[in-house]
């Protein structure tokens, strides 16, 4: 309680960007949604400073912002916009080709599966924490993880995606 926003910013910024990179598949996008989450915290500072878990709040907010921005692009497309806007190339950390392929494959999944896989396996969140972040029951997260692994394996052209620590959380 009584968190100082700047202290949270200094302590959590990189961790949140890393986690949101897993969700968004683009480092610039991850930085922007995390910045937006901090801006929203700054706009509601009294509320933020009373939170039990400010980083969890920021993560939930950032994931929601990422989802909204994804939908906004679709709104733009529904309005008939051509693909030239928002078409900037993705930015990534230095990753091996195999890891880049996984990030690219995640981006092709429905967002509910992508978010669950990214937060659980890449961001190392427990199933319970993922459920709290996404605002869904634990059973739903487990189902999304299961289906997501199958879908990801299909995208990667592999028979099945086996992940260590699958049952953790």
């Amino acid at each position: 309680m009584g968190h100082d926003l700047q202290q949270v910013f200094e302590a959590s910024w990189r961790r949140l960007v890393g986690q949101l990179y897993a969700v968004c598949g683009d480092l610039t996008e991850a930085e922007e949604v995390v910045a937006e989450a901090f801006a929203r915290a700054a706009a509601r500072r009294r509320m933020f400073e009373g939170l039990d878990s400010p980083e969890a709040w920021l993560r939930v907010t950032a994931v929601n912002i990422a989802r909204t921005r994804h939908r906004r692009r679709r709104v733009g497309e529904r309005l008939g916009l051509s693909g030239v806007v928002g078409a900037a190339e993705s930015r990534h950390p230095y990753l091996t080709d195999d890891r880049l392929a996984v990030v690219g494959a995640l981006a092709q999944l429905p967002h509910v599966q992508r978010e669950a896989l990214a937060l659980h396996y890449l961001a190392d969140q427990s199933v319970a924490d993922v459920a709290a972040t996404l605002g869904v029951p634990i059973g739903t997260v487990k189902a999304r993880l299961s289906r997501g692994r199958v879908a990801l394996a299909a995208v990667l052209g592999e028979t099945e995606l086996l992940v260590e620590g699958e049952s953790r959380g």
Binding site: R14, V75, S82, A88, E89, P110
Partner: protein
């Protein structure tokens, strides 16, 4: 294979993350705090982009110096600049060579006129005044490189079908790796144009009013929400989050204020009749016939459909399309009709194949017209079009569960994904007028027979 989903990916992303200045985050928070009081309107020409607007506003049309657009420092509108409408030049066909493209990439930001007149420019959006499509505004974009990861935008508008035109000397630039923001361009019945830029390089909303005579003014923005006045233009930033920006703009006075909308509003549109329609985060549909002073509400507008789209219709007919999630486009899953002001009747679509739809309208004869951008059986985007042809579809029968395709004439006679690129559906006394961008993005087209035949609209 066991470690493909490797947390090392996140750790490397943490290392590569660029941390912004904390004070910049605070400043953005202050803007958001002010905007939380804001509220509603209609977006017709919308650019959703990573737009950092290096805005150029010069006093004379021929001036090329860069002058940032700044908000009014005083409550009174800034002194307008007064370029006069000029005869539209006759287009001169030119050949763009690779060398030209390279030079374009290297040169300084073009002027608004250069953007509008460049043969390589493309139409990004078009809007006409209902009932008078000689009055129209067109948003043009010129890419800076082959991938169009950076581009410049300018507006051209007319009150006489581009016999004469106004091209305000204002340029918006979309640079790589810049923050997300929006531009909405809208033309009023009197021929004036407003441009709303949400989150410019200073994290501010800036609104320009451009009079039909070419005078450009930076609007004075009030933060107090109020109903939309009869002489005000509505412009809304497309946003599915509550707290979207919905602006009512008086082009004559050069003032803007947030419109009054229901709490938790996610989307607002204004029909050609002037009726406002809103959808809240909690799934309540609301409509107002007095600019938002009084809203009638109908809860239960969405349940299993995370995406909802308004269907244009007469003021006493309220229809929504529901879409499932998980796709790039809008998957048409259901139609929802408000039967008695409070009860929704829902008819689900077959989904086999699944239609991805754009604008839709209830015709005066009761049929449902929709632009189908693509079908789930159209095959890979990179491959040839297969399966059910996209295009304009109209319902057959009474329950809007079956549809037939309108065979389009030129330039949309060959079925393609996303075509016809309809930007507007305007209900008329006996039908609907469509306004679309052509396949080459160089001209606008209009149709009054559901898209069977098209007439070109000059766009610059």
């Amino acid at each position: 294979m066991g470690d493909r989903l490797d947390p090392e990916i996140v750790r490397l992303a943490e290392e590569a993350a660029r941390k912004p200045d904390f004070n910049a985050v605070l400043a953005r928070g202050a803007v958001l705090s002010r905007r939380r009081t804001a509220s509603a309107l209609i977006a017709t020409v919308v650019v959703l982009a990573g737009l950092v607007v290096a805005t150029q506003l010069a006093g004379q049309p021929q001036a090329d110096q860069v002058v940032p657009v700044m908000p009014n420092p005083t409550p009174t509108p800034s002194t307008p600049t007064m370029p006069t409408p000029t005869p539209t030049p006759t287009p001169t066909p030119t050949v763009t060579t690779p060398a030209d493209t390279e030079r374009r990439a290297e040169r300084a930001r073009p002027t608004a006129r250069q953007i509008v007149d460049d043969p390589a420019s493309q139409i990004q959006g078009v809007q006409v005044v209902p009932g008078d499509n000689d009055k129209r505004v067109v948003l043009w974009t010129l890419c800076r490189n082959s991938g169009c990861t950076a581009a410049d935008y300018a507006v051209a508008f007319t009150s006489d079908g581009f016999q004469t035109r106004v091209v305000p000397d204002v340029v918006w630039s979309n640079l790589e790796g810049t923050a997300w923001s929006n531009i909405v361009v809208r033309i009023a019945d009197n021929g004036d144009v407003v441009v709303v830029h949400d989150f410019d390089e200073s994290n501010r909303t800036r609104i320009l009013t451009i009079r039909a005579d070419g005078a450009v003014t930076t609007a004075d923005i009030s933060r107090d929400a109020a109903p939309v006045g009869e002489d005000e233009v509505l412009a809304t930033i497309a946003q599915l989050d509550p707290g979207g920006a919905y602006w009512a703009i008086d082009t004559v006075a050069g003032r803007a204020h947030p419109a009054t909308v229901p709490d938790g509003t996610q989307q607002v549109v204004q029909t050609d009749s002037g009726q406002l329609r809103a959808l809240t985060e909690a799934g309540t549909y609301a409509w107002s016939d007095d600019g938002g002073a009084v809203w009638r509400k109908a809860p239960g507008a969405k349940d299993r459909s995370p995406l909802v789209s308004f269907v244009d219709s007469a003021p006493d007919t309220h229809v929504l399309m529901g879409g499932s999630d998980g796709a790039t486009l809008f998957p048409f899953a259901e139609v929802r009709v408000l039967e008695d002001g409070s009860t929704w009747s829902v008819s689900r679509q077959s989904g086999d194949p699944l239609a991805y739809v754009g604008p839709a309208a209830v015709l005066p004869d009761g049929r449902l017209l929709a632009r189908v951008q693509g079908w789930s059986d159209n095959g890979s985007l990179q491959g040839p079009l297969t399966g059910t042809p996209p295009g304009m579809y109209v319902s057959v029968g009474d329950d809007w569960s079956a549809y037939e395709r309108i065979e389009s004439g030129a330039p949309f006679d060959v079925p393609e994904r996303m075509e016809p690129n309809v930007m507007e559906l305007e209900l008329t006394a006996d039908g609907v007028r469509l306004t679309a961008i052509g396949p080459d993005f160089k001209a606008a087209w209009t149709s009054i027979d559901l898209g069977a035949t098209w007439q070109e609209l000059r766009a610059r």
